[in-house]
């Protein structure tokens, strides 16, 4: 109960809502890193998945590498890149991309692979060329699965952007890092609650997107 009232007081404090370390600014940074990481991952993973799914070339290799990448501990990747490239936005975005590419890639690949062969035959029978089959049949059919991969990736990216604060960048993780440093439990919990809220909003957004795509 004490924790809860402290948390409410923390959120109610007007100082929390203005300035460079206020909630809106930190939220903005967090959304910025997450969007950047997710968009870059989609730019890499969707075309690659479409290619491997459509042609079947390197499909096994792609899914194996993606599975391997899923086993990588993100904080290890982040800290290693920080040691090599220095503190800043680059290591954070690299780590987020390493995290987000596998689910998007695997789902895109599987989505295209999963298109019924009879549908593909029909499209070819209608005189569609390879790229037309890909863009007008396989991509639309695979879209729900691609969106599901994006949702998985987005939730993980939003969660993991928290560790940006550990390498000296902003975002909602700042509250958790600074709260830990100052032994301020309320501040830490406030940061964690904000991350949870953002993740829930992300999930809802993707649920809406999926309805639109139908």
């Amino acid at each position: 109960m004490d924790i809860l009232t402290g948390l409410v007081a923390w959120f109610a404090d007007p100082a929390q809502w203005t300035g460079g370390s206020g909630i809106p600014a930190r939220m903005g940074e967090h959304v910025y890193y997450s969007l950047l990481g997710l968009l870059l991952s989609a730019v890499v993973a969707v075309p690659l998945g479409l290619f491997t799914g459509h042609t079947g070339v390197g499909g096994f290799l792609t899914t194996s590498v993606a599975n391997f990448a899923r086993a990588l501990p993100t904080i290890g990747v982040l800290f290693l890149i920080v040691l090599a490239a220095g503190i800043g936005l680059v290591p954070v975005v690299c780590a987020l991309v390493a995290l987000a590419v596998p689910p998007i890639l695997v789902n895109t690949h599987e989505g295209v692979r999963g298109v019924e062969p009879s549908l593909r035959d029909a499209a070819i029978g209608m005189g569609m060329r390879g790229h037309q089959v890909l863009l007008r049949l396989e991509l639309p059919v695979a879209t729900p699965l691609i969106l599901m991969g994006m949702r998985t990736a987005a939730v993980q990216v939003v969660a993991t952007a928290t560790i940006a604060a550990y390498v000296g960048v902003g975002g909602l993780g700042r509250y958790i890092v600074d709260g830990q440093a100052r032994q301020d439990l309320t501040m830490m919990l406030g940061g964690a609650v904000l991350v949870v809220l953002l993740a829930v909003v992300t999930t809802l957004l993707f649920a809406g997107l999926r309805r639109l795509a139908r």
Partner: protein, 227 residues
Amino acid sequence: MIADAWDWVARVVEWGVTNWSHPGDPERGLLPRLTEHMRLAYLSILIGLAVALPVGLACARWKPLYPPVLTGVNVLYAVPSIALFFLMLPYTGFSDWTAIVPLSLYTLVILLPNVVDGLRQVPDHVRQSAVAMGFGPLRRLVRVETPVAVPVIIAGLRVASVATISMVSVASLVGLGGLGQVILSDGFRRQFDAPIVVGIVLTVALAFVTDALLVLAQRLLTPWARR
């Protein structure tokens, strides 16, 4: 260039070998961190499975139950484990539970749809044959429906175990985390790359060994699929 890379690999391997264990102090070294990592990950996976099985059974039997449970589980899925580690701190402190509760929830979220789908995909004629052979509901469940669902459940377990094993490292941020401690304390805080690389390699190796064990378990549990 190649000589440099070789030197670097040799340096990393040397660090790993010299720090594997400290005979004088069983709490130091890589081995105790690895066993801690395995303890946290395997306990979380087992607890997640232990909850997912009965809940999944209930959802497969009483169909109206499934949509609300699935919605609840999807909301849980949106809650990031990193945030949960910190939200657990006031209640469980620095005990193993701070890591195990969020991670087993995560396993549950991944597994539950697989358990339900696995049980539901039992073909009707198989179920009817079991009834015709005089199997009661319980015996049918244990002897027929669960074995048929095993491949789907294990597919879910494989996804959950890889995710859990790589996520245990994140718990190092709240002072737990097995190999994550090696990455964070020995590596990052000292600006030293060898422990980070060793931590990553051991985590990935653990994930692969676990995955291989699950594939083996599937082969042993479904001998009829092997031909």
